[in-house]
Every structure is written in C-alpha cells, then in structure tokens.
C-alpha cells in the first residue's frame, strides 16, 4: 500500500534569489544572439560590448541580494530589504544548487572578471575591424556554465556546468579564422576536453555506484555514516581517481597539461584572458567543493594524490616556462605553476585552505587578465607578435604598456605589496597549517625558479635593444582595454596593500553542507486538515522520488486534495508496516 497516489507530483523547492545571476547571464547571451541575427550587421559593434558589460553588471547586482541572504542584511552593500530575513547558506532546486558564501563570492568574481574580459575583447575587435558578436555571446554562455559550476551541489549539475563552459570555450579557441593555429587550438582543446569529460563522467558513474547518489550532500552523509569495504570501496576509489584526472585535465595540472600551452598560443589573445581567469575559477571551485566538502572523510585517499599533482605542477610549470621563447606559452606554463599553488589550498582540506584558494583565485584573475590584456595589445594587428623578440625594447617605445606588464609580472612573481605575494603567502600558510610544511617549501622553491622567467621578460622589455625584425611602433592603449588594465592594476594593488577586506570575505566563503529542502507537495492553506512530519529511513519511502533520508516536515497538508483518505492513512499508521516513521496530527481525527 502506498501513501501517496501514483500521480502525485513533487516539485522541487526553487529559490529564484539564488538563480537570478545565472538567469540574467543566460538571457543576456540569448538576447544578444537574437539581436545580432535580426540586426544583420546594421548594429554597431560597441552596442554588443555595452550589452555584454551591462549583462555582467546585472548578474553581479542580482548576486547582491543572494549575498545578503547568505551573510546577513547588514553586510549587503547596495541592497536593503528588511522584509526578508537572512537564512544563512541554503540549497535550492531539490538541493542541486548550493547558495553559500563560496558560491556567492565566486559568482560575483566571475561577473566582475567578465566585465574586464568583455572590454578587452571589444578593444581587440575594434583593432582587427572584425564583427563577432558571437564572441561576446559565447563568453557569456561560458560564464553561465562557470556560475553553475561554482554553485553545483550535485555531480551531474557540476558536469552540466562544466560542459556549458567547455563547449563554448572550444568554439572561442577556434574563433580566429585567419590563423590556422586558432583552429588547431580549438581542435586540440575539443579532443582533450571531451576526453577528460569522459573520464570525469566515468568517475561520477562509479561514485554513483558506490554511494547510490550523485548529490554532494548525499555523498557527504553517506561517507560519514558508512565505511566502504571490498568492491564498493574500490569503486569509490576508482571513481574518485577518475574524477581527479578529469579535473586535472580541465585546470591543466602536470602531467595533464600538454594541451594548455598550445591552446593558449593558438587562441585569440583576448579570449585567453577568459580561459585563464573564469575557466580556472570555475574548475577549481568545482574541484574544491567535490574534494574538500563531499569527500572530506576520504581525505586520506585523495590528499596524497593532490600533493603529488601540486609538486609536479609547481616544478613542471616553472621549469617548462624557462625554455619558452613565446610569451603566450611562457605565461601558459606560469599559469600551470600558479595552479600548483592553488592546489596547496585544496590539499589543506580546511577552512584556512578554502579561504586561501578563494584569495588566490581572486588575485590570480586580476593578474592574469591584466597580463594577457598587455599581450593582446603588444600582438598588434593580426594578433601575431608573441615572441620574446617582439618584446625587446618595449620599455623605450611604449613605456606605459611595458610598465604595466612589468607590474603584473612582478606581482605574479610574488613581490610584496602586490596581490601575488599575498595570494602565495595565504597558500603557503594553509599548507603549513595542514601539516604539509614540506609542500610549502617546494612551493617557495618553485616560486624562486618562476621569478627567473618573469624577470627575464622584464629584462627583455627594458634592457635589451630591439632586434632588426622587431616591430618598434608605439603600442597604444585603447579606452576599453585601458579601463580593464586600470581595474586589474587597482585590484592587484588593493589586495596587496589592504588584504584584510578580501581575507574577511574569503574566510566566510566556505562551502556549506546544507540538507535539501523537502519537495513541495501542496501549498499549505486554510484547508489543511493534518500536520504531517515524516522521518524517513535510509531506503527512502514508497512513492517518493529517490532515496531521501532524514526528516521531512511537510507542514500542514490538505489530505483530501492529495487523494489521501484520512481513514486509510489512520489505518496504515495503526498497521505500522510503512517502512518509515510518520507523525501525523489530525485536526479532525477520523472515526
């Protein structure tokens, strides 16, 4: 006998506050595509850039009420609505989307990064006299995928976000139709991206087989309550390993990094700002939430793996960069080395580590967007001048651009009073705090090696006379790129000199394990005639979708409208063979 009629519909609890940033980004991208198709080239290009900037700003603004709801209203910057109480971290849409400090902060970071990225793309398109409104639309869709990833509380939703992000990024990489390297980069990115997605997905399948679900909260609870032995334990380890391989491909960790220098080299330079900021933020956020939150109790299994990847990436990235003569490839290896530093925070598997990851991602986004904006400008028309020779004597011909690049490079090297120093400092502290001082020592050693390559670039710009084939024309800074550069430089200085504000935010940006809200069965109303509270066992309950252990309070229900006969329910309760505990208070006891 089933309690609920077979046609009863359970609808998940949807909190639109948590979804608005994504909805704005998605609608903005779709409308931009629609307008550009209808306009057929009659609309001037700056309109699309303005549209994309406004969408990103709108996405940021809609994240403010969410921030306020998670952290409390007195912290809201612009928005104040005393009608709504802060609820703290919560999850929505049946528990697959998390709204906690971590997701809100990184959603805002993605929105802000998007503004800078769009400005750089606009400067690039203006120089190349190209019309590619698709470039803006695709970055917006990719940013949407990133926002889904930072909020994903279910492995399948994480995968959907990852694919939204990646599929758009494959096209972005192949976007420059004049350079054959660009299509090559797109193809390589596609093959390796799809390859790694398959590993990632296979990992999810085994975790599903071992734990019986894909929800991160479900996995957390399951692993906390059960010790998996024998074949189940093996399946869990296999799944975890495949998942880590998938992540390692996506964030380009040694030895899964070989695609990254090629893709950075071939991709149009302004889009590399996007790939190295938003894509990394989203992938590391997903990695951190899965490993540190869901697999916290399996830390002994995955921490050594992450430590190994961190050492390889730190050293491999720094050493690989030394032999490069192409600035984009050099920066690609440097970003591999940075990824190693971020792994220090992941590996720590603590709140300190999570805060370090958030600080590092914020600082790194500003640094890398700034650096690749300079690369975009120096590449001149056609996006072709990327070798070290092309940077010779830049300090004399274009002191402003060379000065900014020097500043960003020194910050990446970790010079004090810049964001780079503070980010590296946080990561090292997190590693020491987690008892892996040896890893911190390796990281500092690799930072010394990496400093050499940044200094080499600086010396090339200021102290080497231009070769005969070097283009010595002045590199101007268009207004759009200038705004992006100024913003990045200001952020780097601000984080470096006044790190307290960011630290304060980062320390509250911790993923939270929040039990999903019960599904809505019926609106509570005047007709309610029973107060129903279930306590469901580990096997779920008959008639309910999926296993959903824990307590559920359905509140006041109108039994008649659900097709439940109160007398029948009473008889079932008397029988006591329901398989779960149920506590019903009838307002008007039957019989």
């Amino acid at each position: 006998m089933e309690l609920f009629p077979s046609d009863a519909v359970f609808t998940p609890d949807v909190s639109w506050v948590a979804l608005w940033p994504m909805v704005v980004m998605a609608l903005g991208g779709l409308l931009l595509l629609t307008i550009s198709s209808l306009g057929k080239g009659r609309i001037p290009r700056p309109f699309y850039a303005l549209w994309a900037v406004l969408t990103s700003v709108g996405s940021f603004i809609t994240a403010i009420p969410l921030w306020a709801q998670v952290h409390g209203w007195e912290d809201a910057v612009l928005w104040y609505d005393p009608e709504v109480d802060p609820t703290g971290p919560f999850s929505t849409v049946g528990g697959v989307i998390a709204a906690d400090g971590f997701s809100v902060f990184l959603t805002m970071l993605i929105a802000v990064s998007m503004v800078a990225v769009v400005l750089v793309i606009e400067a690039y398109l203006d120089r190349e006299q190209d019309r590619f409104p698709e470039m803006f639309a695709l970055t917006m869709f990719a940013a949407l995928g990133g926002m889904v990833m930072v909020s994903a509380n279910d492995l399948i939703v994480l995968l959907l976000g990852l694919e939204t992000l990646s599929v758009a990024a494959y096209v972005l990489a192949a976007m420059d139709l004049r350079r054959v390297q660009s299509q090559e980069a797109g193809f390589k990115y596609f093959v390796l991206g799809a390859f790694s997605s398959a590993f990632f997905l296979y990992g999810i399948a085994f975790i599903y087989g071992a734990t019986g679900g894909t929800g991160l909260v479900h996995i957390t609870d399951f692993l906390a309550a059960n010790v998996l032995l024998g074949s189940s334990g093996l399946m869990l380890l296999l799944g975890l390993g495949l998942l880590i391989v998938g992540f390692a491909f996506k964030v380009a960790l040694v030895p899964f990094h070989s695609w990254s220098p090629d893709v950075y080299d071939g991709t149009p330079s302004p889009l590399v700002t996007f790939m190295s900021s938003v894509v990394k933020v989203a992938a590391f956020a997903g990695m951190l939430r899965v490993l540190v939150m869901a697999f916290e109790s399996a830390g002994a299994d995955w921490r050594p793996v992450i430590q190994g990847l961190a050492v390889l990436s730190l050293v491999g990235g720094a050493l690989g960069a030394i032999v490069q003569s192409n600035v984009k490839r050099l920066l690609a290896y440097s970003s591999i080395s940075h990824a190693g530093f971020i792994l220090l925070g992941v590996e720590a598997a603590s709140d300190v580590g999570t805060a370090a990851v958030v600080i590092y991602l914020t600082a790194y986004s500003a640094l890398v967007i700034g650096s690749f904006t300079v690369v975009t400008l120096v590449a001149r028309s056609g996006d072709r001048l990327h070798t070290l020779t092309d940077y010779q004597g830049l300090g004399r011909t274009s002191p402003l651009v060379a000065g900014l690049f020097t500043f960003f490079l020194l910050a990446q090297a970790g010079v004090p009073f810049t964001a780079g120093f503070y980010a590296k400092f946080s990561a090292v502290i997190a590693a020491v705090d987690a008892g892996t001082a040896w890893l911190a020592a390796v990281a500092m050693l690799s930072a010394v090696i990496a400093a050499y390559l940044y200094l080499r670039l600086v010396v090339t710009m200021w102290f080497v006379d231009p070769a005969a084939e070097t283009d010595t024309s002045h590199v101007g800074v268009p207004a759009a790129a200038g705004i992006a550069l100024a913003g990045c430089a200001a952020a780097v200085l601000w984080i470096g000199i006044f790190p307290n504000t960011l630290t304060d935010w980062a320390e509250r940006s911790v993923p939270a394990v929040v039990q999903p809200a019960p599904p809505n069965l019926v609106e509570s109303g005047d007709e309610a005639d029973a107060d129903v509270e279930f306590e469901v066992g580990p096997d779920g309950m008959p008639g309910m979708p999926g296993p959903m252990p824990g307590e559920m309070d359905f509140g006041e229900l109108d039994l008649e409208s659900l097709g439940i006969d109160p007398a029948e329910l009473e008889a079932m309760l008397e029988g006591g063979d329901l398989g779960f505990d149920v506590d019903v208070e009838f307002e008007d006891p039957p019989g």
Binding site: I156, E163, A185, F187, A194, Y202, A205, G209, P261, P547
Partner: protein
Amino acid sequence: MRQIDLGYLMLSGLVFAIGAVGVLIRRNPLVLVMCVELMLNAVNLTFVTFGRAMNDMAGQVIVFFVLVIAAAEVVVGLGIIVAMKRRQPAATADDVSVLRG
C-alpha cells in the same frame, strides 16, 4: 541492493578502454570524435547498470543528460573539424602540428 551485473560493467569498461586507446592512437579527426562517443556511451551503460542494481531511476535519467552533452560536443567538434578541413583538406591529427605540443 540487488547484485550488480559484473558482465555489463566489464563490457562498459572494455568499450571505454577501446574509446580511450582510440583517441590516443588514431589519426583521423572524425574517428577521434567517434572514439569520444564510444567513451561516453560506455559511461551510459555503467550508469544504467548501477541504476538497475540499486533499483534507482536516477541512473537512467542521467543517461539522457549525457546523451545531450555528447550531442552538443559532437556538433561543436564537427564544426571545428570543418573549419580546419577548409584550410587543409587532407588534415589528419598529425598535420595539426603548427603548434608544438
């Protein structure tokens, strides 16, 4: 939990391995895309096997998500291959070598 049917798991593992090895050793871009498809479909079989063993519908629902993802990836992949082939009609994965890697 019902007994997991090991045969299906082994079959999916085998198909996944064939796909993975194919991506690593084949040259034709189209065959690369087909190999990725093999890998994704092997994962689908794994999901259905586990879903059946646990008597849980979620395993089969996930397969639909994976199918959509695979379709989207192939559309983009084929688009990139067409753009590449237009420039170099005889391109194989070995010719994609302007970039050292």
